[in-house]
Amino acid sequence: MQAVILAGGEGQRVRPLTHSQPKVMIPVANRPILDYVIESVEKCGINDIIVVAGYRKEQVIRYLNSLDTGVSVVVQKKQLGVFDALLCAKDLIKGDFLLIPGDNYIDSESLSRLKTERNAMLTAEHPYPSNYGVVSVSGGKVKGISEKPSLADTMTVSTGCFSLTPDIFNYPATCMIPDIITDMAKNGRPIKAVPANRWHDAIYAWDLLKMNRMALEMVKPSVSGNVSKSASITGNVSIGSGTVISPYAVIAGDVVIGENSYIGPHTCIMPGTSIGSRVRVEPFTYIENSILMDDSSVGSHCRITDSVIAKGAKLGSNVTVDPSYSAVEVDGHFFKAFFGSVVGDNSVAAPFTVLKHCVIGNSSAVENGRVIEGFLPDGSIVK
């Protein structure tokens, strides 16, 4: 059995975090989402893995090269949908195979069950089904899929994980997966619906925080680096080599910190926090339920909660995040969501900035300590 993992799409709805990398490469608990998928696939006993890369393929390939697992890589030149991506891998496919999206978490038990079926899909129940392919099931068989309907008649959605046979390549290249599934059902070869145990998708950037908390539960505690004797470390905590934990820092798991980072004196790193490599957190700063990606930095006396701080972003001292449950506009649509802030790659916030339920694009700068609310596009400068 082989597995085809789709890693070609950008994941536009997770912007601004997909500026320098596709969604599959976004780190949760300091590992790219793709890594969890590959791990689950291997755990269920599949070693022949094909990854379809596309958007920012260099980043994906570089990452795959750093793994012990040998995977084959094929490149999808233009992102023309799932079936097109699958066709890119056609020449490498020898028999029955699993088709798995690389940007969702899926557990290996579900994949094991999917593996035993031919022509089947993993389904899940979701409170907001309209973001997905909504599946109508009767008697364990899929009758049809409607892609992102404005009104969904069930809560059952497709996880995008399929067990397929090479027959699918008989469909013309212009087909879309939902059409193919519906057509198969009509022609007496219905796809089986197999419920998934644990599946998680982050649609928008703030959804990553939940996925991060889930992934942090699985982190094995291990402390290396240079940890001060007077620092307090409790719970499930992993600290990478070369990282400095200064005196009187309080770290309460679940927390993961990468390599060569600096955590200053009297800082509080509270549960649900992932801190990447080469990150700097200065004294007297409080961080909770947040993701700080590689090379970011946070000044002293900050309060950062429920936030995603992307690669290389720099928050000055006394920056405060004020989270709330309120509406945010994305591509002309309004969503209600609870989070603090999302700060894009290499953006800068001046001292005393208040981030109040906002999304700041990449390479933006808040040059004075202001209150920022709502959505700032890439390259914004706030004077």
Partner: protein, 603 residues
Amino acid sequence: MCGIVGYTGKRNAAPLIVEGLKCLEYRGYDSFGLAVMESGDGSAGHEDAAGKPTVIKKQGRISDAGSDVSVACGNIGIGHTRWATHGVPSDVNAHPHTDCSGDIAVVHNGIIENYAELKKVLIAEGHVFKSETDTEVIAHLLEKFCNTADADGLIGDEKIDFAVKNLMNTLEGSFALLILIRGFNGLIAIKRFSPLVLGIGDDELFASSDMTPILEHTQKILFLEDNDYAYLTPDGIRVFGYPSGEAVEREVKTVDWDVESAKKGGYEYFMEKEIFEQPAVFVNSFRQKIDDGAISVLKKASSITVVACGSSYHAGLIFRYLMEKYCKIPVRVEIASEFLNFTIAKGTAVIAVTQSGETADTLAALRHAKANGCPVFAVTNVLGSSVTRIADYVLYTRAGPEISVAATKSFTAQCAVLLRIVSLIGKGIFEKELFEIYPVLEETLLFDPADASAVCKDAENIFYVGRGVYYPISLEGALKMKEITYIHAEGCAAGELKHGPFSLLTPKTPVVAVCTKDDAYPVMISNIKEMKARGAPVIAIGSSGDKDLKEIADIFIPLPRSENICEVISATIILQMIAYNTAVLLGRDVDKPRNLAKSVTVI
């Protein structure tokens, strides 16, 4: 220069040799060959009686070869991938070379300087030569010495010992040799001034020009020293020193290089892979610990001289600009092959910069400096390479194996190590900026070179100009462009344009100008305007948000917002990406440009 591999053990040698040679292709790739033989089966009277070697050789690349080369049977084998020095690339000139009887097969990396005289003598004695190579004399010499030994009644190890010692006594020049002799149940390895390492696996032994082919099988590596000869037999490795002939101990090191990193992964070319490895490579090379002793010797030196070739020479020039400006120590940078013409002032410290550590010109220059009593340093990427045995102090770049002939990550790694020296001598200058360079380089890699490459690909000549530290960057950019695209490219100090090259500017000669907002900015801007006035299309690489430059240039490439020193490295990567992309558009063999080899181990 060439690559050689050898195997003795229980497995069929031919496929292992072929795989090993593929790893060494960067050392040369105009022809290849291998020889295998069966060891004695252990039955009475046959214990040591290894059979006659079977030889297969071909013109062309090992990676293009069909499966027919792997069919030869035998559990002892040697192989060679060639870079022609004596005799054109052809089937006949490919190694291994054999003696008249076909009982002896030799692969060789290096040059036999006295081969012409030896050949004359051997022909007079009745030996029949098949090829034009220098190597073939080795096979015939061995045949001659074996015959003499037979006549003296020597047998077994004594006979082999006699032949090997006489061979080393007779040959002049540089050589790493692997030899099969009918009746000798194993491999003979000889090293003098050419690289050769041995690998120790479970019941099997390996030999190779570098570690990459061996690492797939074992991490236990034995580095031979010059004038060592070794017997690799089922009983293990025995190493002897020439001329004493006494057994010597050589340390076995465990090497943790990741062999996967020597593979291409999903990238189209190794060069692309290596370009994208640069953020980590730069940071790892810069952040490493450097011996305080080395730094204090450099601090005390009245001046520093850097000797290097190719890209390494450009890294030396960058070092010069920064060292002179920020540390006030005079620095001279010389092309290694010209260095022997010059005198060396007393109190000068000499730094050799060489990726492979085997660059013959650089080694010769460093030996010259050492002979003049200078403290000698090496900046190299290869553990245990020849340069590390000459130098008093060795600073390693952490680039990992670089397969593409055009240097990319090894160049930035050299810059990192040299910048680290500047930083340590200059009381921590640049340290903060360069510790934080990682995201800047990542951002640089997002650059899309399509527009710039579209202009470059149709040009016959391209000029690269810069001032100050961007002058060597321009040289490096031009070198990358010419070596992989075959378009003539020339790097120029911007101020020199008016003194000649200006007459070459036309609307068909693109100019790549590197012009960041540093001290030279205003005068660079006026230079670029002058070039525009001659109609030359200008591709300008500048600081982010530079509106003036954007207005003047035909194509403006902004660097990520960062410190001045980080822009130097960013600009280098941008130039690499333009060259790479242009070469791909032109359909060039990016990793193995014509007429070039990775490490130049001949003078």
